[in-house]
Symmetry: C2
Subunit: 344 residues, 2 copies
DNA sequence: ACGTTTACCTACAACGTTGTAAACGCGTCG
DNA sequence: CGACGCGTTTACAACGTTGTAGGTAAACGT
């Protein structure tokens, strides 16, 4: 139909409409002072030629691309897939496109990515850090708008959208305590970590114990390096092998918890009767496991929406000195079978 | 450190190196005829200024962006998240970036996306169609390199990378038959569909039955509209309610199968003892379910790698008349507990 | 020794857009 | 009536890159 078709340019439209290219440009950019008749002629010409602005030219001239970057550790981790989904949908509502990068959670790649030439393709970056920590926060002092996600770095030089890890973990633990559980195991702790998802959530756990007057027992803490299913399964196996007694488990994320639940059930323990379980993330999967998993909805949708909004505000703002903001999303407990009160 | 930093341009490099901008450009683009001493001076200047080519300018001038698009229904569906992961990693190996779009599996949005202005941001598109069907194949006749994934459209005008649905489904069914199962239920069929993942996989199922001399029983087929976990659970509930007897279930994808398995277990049926189960996709999750799920690895990595390679070949090729290719990835059965031979 | 190739390098234009400055016509004000 | 302001439009330059065409030596062939 149009094999050797050349895309129409402003010049073509201008010629057809009998105006200058700048007037066409003005129409496209909603410049106010245009005579309605002129505007209509231009719009007609645009429609006739099916004109589309050349985005490369526009971005060369204006310095804006209309694309934002999203850097996550791995899309095959459900949490980040669902986060990316939410960010893309949110970006779409705001009329921008998302370019996704995977860091593998590797510190070196994260740092490299911050100054990668690809940053030129985007007007700003939503960056979910996993490998970097607070010592690296100077690397975040980049020359473009950057919104940080995650809980590896606090008090950095950029806007930061995150969740109420401590409060939510405390609420999760209190939920188990309210069921009458006293021996609450944790799966997914990181040795010595204070900041970071694991550290913060463990802190919430300890706060809840303390408030309830339950002594903290280090034997109940299952450490893992990563938060994949297999890590949860391994940690639970280790816990069972250790012989320590427990009547509930708080998995620091859903994936870990589901892995741990599998091992519990293999060992013949019933959930929630023998061991109640609660996770963190509210993955889609948590509503279809056996039993369905009680978990914390950390406000992922809100985080995505806020991150996009804040980033676009930064991009639009001329005020570079605007102080960095830290925004916390609301969480809620999603109650399901894995913490159902004893039936029989 | 460099707040009001202006990025260096070819001009800056040229000035420092004492050559013309074109020579700098030539160095960057590996033009062969450059005196080694000159080249070194240019490289030194580039290093000194930390020069990075301006991608917008380059793409305006050259018509190439170095970005490829990937359109999938939804990242929150694990299959597509894992596919996107593989595509991104593969693209990275080839030095290009991936821009992801979500269609929601909606036909209208899929069609719209094919001519969206965003296509300008990409040199080509890897398109996983779900809503469109063979009647829509003319929409695929677009002015840019396009590689089709999925099994909704065959014999279209573009390159097509897909999996051996019929063969793989047949192998899955044969695997169940080899266990001695004769009453094999299917979860996830689509009413009246011939082409499409559901239709093709159902055909493989029927071929296997026929080869084994087992009559096809329509009562064993569970229909669903979508392939989410809840659909698998619902279909299995319907099957159980119908009272039909079966000793195995072939879920047309893993997600469906996991949903169905949950319902089976709730109903007190043991897997694989009472009912063996096999899925399709080899999601990460399949190795951590209870029991672990035997499934078909449809060659997702190979599909991603091939799609990227074929797309880049199209982009690089000047020969527009190159006939469309259809490439099928290899599959294999991944045996796990859900089809383990009767132990006790 | 002289035309011809070859290696190397450069000037200039062009890609399609938007910002700047200024021009134009027209009504208004002093 | 001339200066001015305002709404509307335009010419021109610029963004940073690569393609084209060409130029200058040195190397080559005869």
């Amino acid at each position: 139909m149009n094999g050797d078709f050349m895309a129409a340019t402003l010049h073509d439209v201008a010629r057809i409409a009998g105006v200058s290219i700048k007037t066409v440009s003005n129409v496209i950019n909603d410049y106010p002072h245009i005579r309605p008749t002129t505007k209509q002629r231009v719009l007609d010409a645009i429609a006739e030629l099916d004109y589309r602005p050349n985005l490369s030219a526009r971005s060369l001239r204006s310095g804006r691309t209309g694309v934002i970057g999203l850097a996550v550790p791995e899309l095959s981790l459900s949490y980040f897939a669902e986060l990316a989904d939410a960010v893309i949908r949110s970006a779409e509502r705001h009329g921008v496109t998302v370019l996704i990068e995977q860091t593998g959670g590797d510190r070196a790649r994260e740092i490299e990515l911050l100054t990668s030439p690809r940053r030129q393709l985007t007007d700003g970056l939503i960056f979910s850090a996993l490998g970097m920590d607070s010592d690296d926060s100077e690397y975040l002092r980049v020359g473009y708008p950057l919104v940080l996600l995650g809980e590896r770095i606090f008090g950095g030089p950029t806007d930061h959208v995150t969740m109420r890890n401590v409060d939510a973990a405390r609420a999760a633990t209190e939920h188990l305590i309210a069921l009458g559980r006293r021996r609450i195991a944790v799966i997914g702790a990181h040795e010595g970590e204070v900041i970071g998802s694991a550290g913060l959530r463990l802190r919430g756990y300890r706060e809840a114990l303390e408030a309830a007057g339950i002594p903290f027992d280090p034997a109940l803490i299952g450490y893992t390096t990563l938060w994949h299913r297999s890590n949860g399964a391994d940690a639970m196996r280790a816990l069972l092998a250790s012989g320590v007694e427990f009547d509930a488990v708080f998995g620091l994320n859903d994936t870990l918890t589901l892995g741990a639940m599998r091992v519990l059930q293999e060992a013949g323990l019933r959930i929630p009767k023998d061991v109640a379980a609660i996770g963190f993330d509210d993955l889609d999967e948590a509503q279809y496991s056996l039993p369905t998993l009680t978990t914390i909805d950390p406000g992922r949708e809100e985080i995505a929406e806020t991150a996009v909004r804040v980033l676009l505000e930064r991009i639009a703002s001329t005020d570079l000195a605007l102080p960095p903001r830290e925004i916390l999303a609301d969480f809620r407990i999603v109650e399901r079978e894995s913490t159902a009160p004893a039936a029989a």
